[in-house]
Symmetry: C2
């Protein structure tokens, strides 16, 4: 069977992972096009709102590996699959296997609305169900199923919830309580995507991170958690491709 | 046998871990007094330079647990042992066991110059050998022994090297190459401990972090690493006890 092409919007790196369980990791990014969600504050809305539809390239897994090497040279050993929602693409299994064959580890970011069998081959998997402020509804049955399968497969995975307000934090606590044994990351949301001056963005991001720390520190139901900023926005602001 | 007292300088929290493998983790801190090192840029020099010798309290493990509860209430499930060098204190085993008995996880930060049998009961252990800019000499034989024992004991541990300059980065690469299977964190050093205005400190810390990212991204011998700032200094500057 011929390889099924993968819709790709960005390939870049090496850079530093800014989020969750992989924060700080030296990595390359492959950003796929298409999403089943429409989060109100999505920082990659160009993957689904049509604004970048002319930039979508349909690439074979082998071509993606070639392009990663062309850009990253020999200076990478880790690739992050992000979107959009890469979990819409059954054909990503081929890419993961090719990367593993080269000794490269693979991380995935997805909201946990869809399962793919290749989840069981991901080295570091982040499930980030979306809180009320996103405007999305969580499919708890789908999420239960994914968490259950990942546990069974004994994969290194975590939950991450972005929080913009108190309602979001309640949602985070609910997710954490539902999956108590799973590593949990609370992340301060960036509600200021229009700010192009990163020096002006930083005090706002700091304030939001302190807000979240303060809230989490006081709650006994959020003791076994990590609280993190979106580190790359502190360094590079709202710039794309870094 | 009566409990041997533990020399303590600070007990505080809950707060957020700012470094390495535990970055973002909600934790309490217990800072012990005394160190076998005298790093030129130590951010906790009061633990060994005599300036806080009147603040050292000799506490039983049970009293430390009591104080943690008095300060943190029921809002913690994680304690970080830091110093100074806690590895100088054989009596910390008692504290670790008491915390575990309460369902509390324990992390340790140490330079890796001394072994203690209780290392095998630490949940998240960070070994941070010191680079040339510290003015210290690494005892490679001691470090080899500690890494070997932790591997044998199948403990969750990592190496962390703080880097201030190119020589430090060479040292980091040497440490990483010596222990290739061990999770490795490179951290940008804070050479501006005298700055009391955190708004003025932040641009400097950002610049140092970007410097380190830039260097690490280019090196093929530093592909499987994490690059992190000292997150708490971005939020709280050089303040103590947060």
């Amino acid at each position: 069977m011929a390889e099924r092409a993968i819709p790709v919007l960005e390939i870049f790196g090496p850079t530093v992972q800014g989020e969750g369980m992989v924060i700080g990791r030296k990595t390359m990014f492959v950003r796929t096009a298409g999403c089943d969600y429409r989060c109100s504050w999505c920082d990659s809305a160009f993957t689904w709102d049509g604004s970048a539809k002319d930039d979508v390239r349909l690439l074979a897994a082998s071509d993606i590996v070639k392009e990663l090497k062309a850009i990253g040279g020999d200076s990478f050993a880790h690739v992050t699959l992000s979107g959009g929602n890469p979990a819409l693409l059954p054909q990503l299994g081929e890419l993961i296997d090719r990367l593993h064959a080269e000794g490269v580890e693979v991380a995935l970011e997805t909201q946990g609305s869809r399962w793919q069998p290749w989840f069981e081959r991901i080295d570091e998997l982040t499930l980030s169900p979306k809180p009320p402020s996103s405007g999305m509804e969580t499919d708890w049955e789908a999420l239960d199923g994914i968490v259950g399968r990942l546990k069974e497969a004994d994969r290194r995975f975590s939950l991450k919830v972005v929080a913009f307000d108190d309602l979001d934090l309640e949602y985070a606590a609910r997710v954490h309580a539902r999956y108590p044994g799973v590593a949990f990351y609370a992340q301060a949301g960036n509600g200021n995507l229009g700010e192009t001056d990163s020096a002006r963005l930083l005090p706002y991001l700091l304030e939001r991170y302190e807000w979240l720390i303060d809230k989490v520190m006081k709650r006994a139901d959020l003791n076994r958690v990590h609280v993190l900023p979106q580190l790359h926005t502190w360094v590079w602001g709202n710039k794309k491709g870094v």
